[in-house]
Symmetry: C3
């Protein structure tokens, strides 16, 4: 029941809602393959209010709306625009409300999207708020796994890289915890998953914490790689010393099961070598492309039009 | 008869045209409420050329065009784009003419919109030219009052704040002067309405000039509040001394007639307190939302399609 | 056979393809005159990825797509956006591929568009890559001449200005060389056409190289004027000394045949005086407007929908 609801955190979404989103996303994939425009959003306008630029996320939302026949009001960098010059977030949101039917907001501050929902009756989609949430990324991650394995159960999922700061990974872990999965958390000690976060994973899940990719590489069904940012390290030598051991190349990919997939929220820099793009395990580009059908499904459900 | 005409100043528009715009705007409100896209602008393209950013105004125009089924070419900041690098306004306008059917122009210099009309046979809408005109703001102001009181006659309208520099207020006064209204002009002495402007109000109107909001607060039907900009004052103490007396709070709003409305062109900063948003008198958000149906009406009339 | 092909250089296009583009462009002119939207691109999305701003070119492509009923994902300045922050061109192109059906790319570096075609199976249109190619400009130049003279054969075409660096002129010469034309190359010695380029013009063409506009002004059917950029000269006096002799005014235009036309890729600065705009020979604004029907034709052919 997402009709006219906002989506701020993946934890707002029931497991039944996720099931529905996955199924409708799948029908959207078919629609896209058939190159059909359902025109279901013909009389709808979406506003994309980006308080910090994120071209990839913005274009994915805008493509989804266009593929449904809808229109878009695009503000690619609110903070450099005239809006918000001394204006409160409340008033900027009310402006978007006056001109559109659904508001996508990206903001550098955690909690901004939740706050925004208090100023409007129109549905808001959080497209990332600082170190907070980015629920549509999690939905497209789930969809990618589901499309590949026809289920979210019975899988061995390894999350690799920065597990301390990465909001993408945090949300994905919480979402996967609803299903029957084994979770492997692979990171350097300094970027280990925070304890308070670990405590929220249900005891019934099999969780393995390791520093070594080798411990999990051959048993993983999903290898979800994230970026390790140099800025996180006070000691640059520490960074340089470990960056290599979490970088996926052809040799590492070669150790994976044939059916296993490599995912990444993109953009990637060095953590997946370009040579991996041509292996049978690479799924990060397809994962990115699923952003469109998943957001089409979500918009349709929120607008109550399908 | 707005067909294929430009709209540079509210004074270009006959009283009959205003009546027509109000009526069609009203039918556009109904269309929006029914969430119907008439597709009347299906084969039309609007160019929004903003020589200075004004996201609020730009999005309002773009929303209006999308709600009619039309397309938009959007240049949110012409001056930072490649166009106009040494190019004359004339050639930039001719470019827009070649690619679109109707051109919305915002420019920091007074007179720019009028000048623009000389270089193209296509209709131009002035979306604000420096201290000059912003006629669609005036039209939506009139529509807001008309929607509320079912008439523009017999009203007591108080304009509050910066009456010296505020182009919004100047245009609104001239437009209201066509109707049977009493006009109260409330401002500090240093921001009094200019004499040459006062001289243009017909003698038949009852005009009251005062520094005190208290003089008019209980008799006003419309309280139109504008921003007092700190930059206008050489003496910052003078600014600080008077800013408070023109700031509307719940107590002041409480002195108003129950049927009276508070308007503001937005964005507001301190001149209306957030607590006022929840009073029955606040109409500034609805006023802003009327920007869409009023611009829909205007575009339809100018393109001759309805 | 442009279906699903990329367009990087005018030399990629066969003479038969050019004929087809000219004919379909002509039917697009009629469509535009009748103000009909064929909706042929209803379920198609175009991404315009501009790694350097070029508002004129961007809007021309976007207008073309809108006139066909299609949608646009617009990135007016990729380099200042989040995309490409350490991301490779390959990954940025793959992002656009995931969200759209056809990708228009403008890049400051020569060869970027060709490189881009290697990372995607979707058609790419080069909208200018540094000193490289800008094939749609050439197509609209050809269309302008063809519309005027109903043929590309039997004409006397004079190219004036910077023939050394001007990519527009280079592409046009190569394209015109396929037809029965006389080519006059008018430039100061320091901006003469490069020898290696001259060598590529078929021996069968009558080519005249001169410094003097007077040598060709009365015999030309087409006078194609380009900008001489001050930056090209180490010696500013040399620039100032010659800039005047290649600047078209009413007197020079008056020496032309009545049927002759003046063209320019725009924007122009001083090389064509505004007074020339009102002569019967000026065609540069119409030329610019043909950017829309020519790009409509091209998009339709590449998408295989008409």
């Amino acid at each position: 029941m997402l009709f006219q609801k906002s989506l701020v955190s993946i934890e707002d979404v029931s497991t039944e809602d996720i099931e529905e989103i996955l199924k409708i996303s799948d029908s959207m994939v078919k629609l896209l393959e058939a190159h059909k425009n359902p025109h279901s959003m013909d009389s709808y306008v979406m506003a994309t209010l980006f308080f910090e630029p994120s071209t990839r996320t913005r274009l994915s939302f805008e493509s989804a709306m266009h593929r449904l026949g809808g229109s878009v009001l695009s503000v690619s960098d609110v903070s450099s625009s005239s809006v918000a010059k001394g204006e409160t977030l409340a008033d900027t949101i009310r402006m978007a409300e006056a001109y559109s039917d659904i508001i996508v907001i990206r903001h550098p501050l955690e909690g901004a999207a939740r706050l925004a929902t208090q100023f409007t009756a129109k549905p808001i989609i959080n497209a990332g708020d600082g170190s907070g949430q980015h629920p549509t990324q999690t939905l497209l991650d789930l969809f990618t796994i589901w499309k590949e394995f026809h289920s979210l159960d019975g899988l061995n999922v390894s999350l690799v890289g920065d597990l301390k700061y990465g909001r993408t990974v945090h949300s994905l872990i919480m979402a996967l915890s609803r299903y029957d999965v084994n979770i492997n958390l692979v990171s350097p000690p300094s970027l280990r998953i925070p304890d308070h976060f670990l405590a929220r994973i249900p005891k019934s899940k099999k969780v393995r914490i390791t520093e070594s990719l080798d411990d999990v590489i051959d048993s993983s069904d999903v290898l979800y790689v994230t970026r390790i940012q140099k800025e996180r390290f006070a000691d640059k030598n520490e960074y340089l010393g470990l960056i290599g051991s979490y970088s996926i190349d052809e040799v590492i990919a070669g150790k994976m099961k044939k059916s296993a997939i490599i995912m990444h929220p993109l953009p990637r820099v060095d953590e997946i070598k370009p040579e991996v793009d041509f292996t049978g395990n690479a799924r990060y580009f397809r994962q990115a492309s699923y952003g469109v059908p998943v957001r089409m499904a979500l918009i349709s459900l929120m607008m109550g039009v399908s």
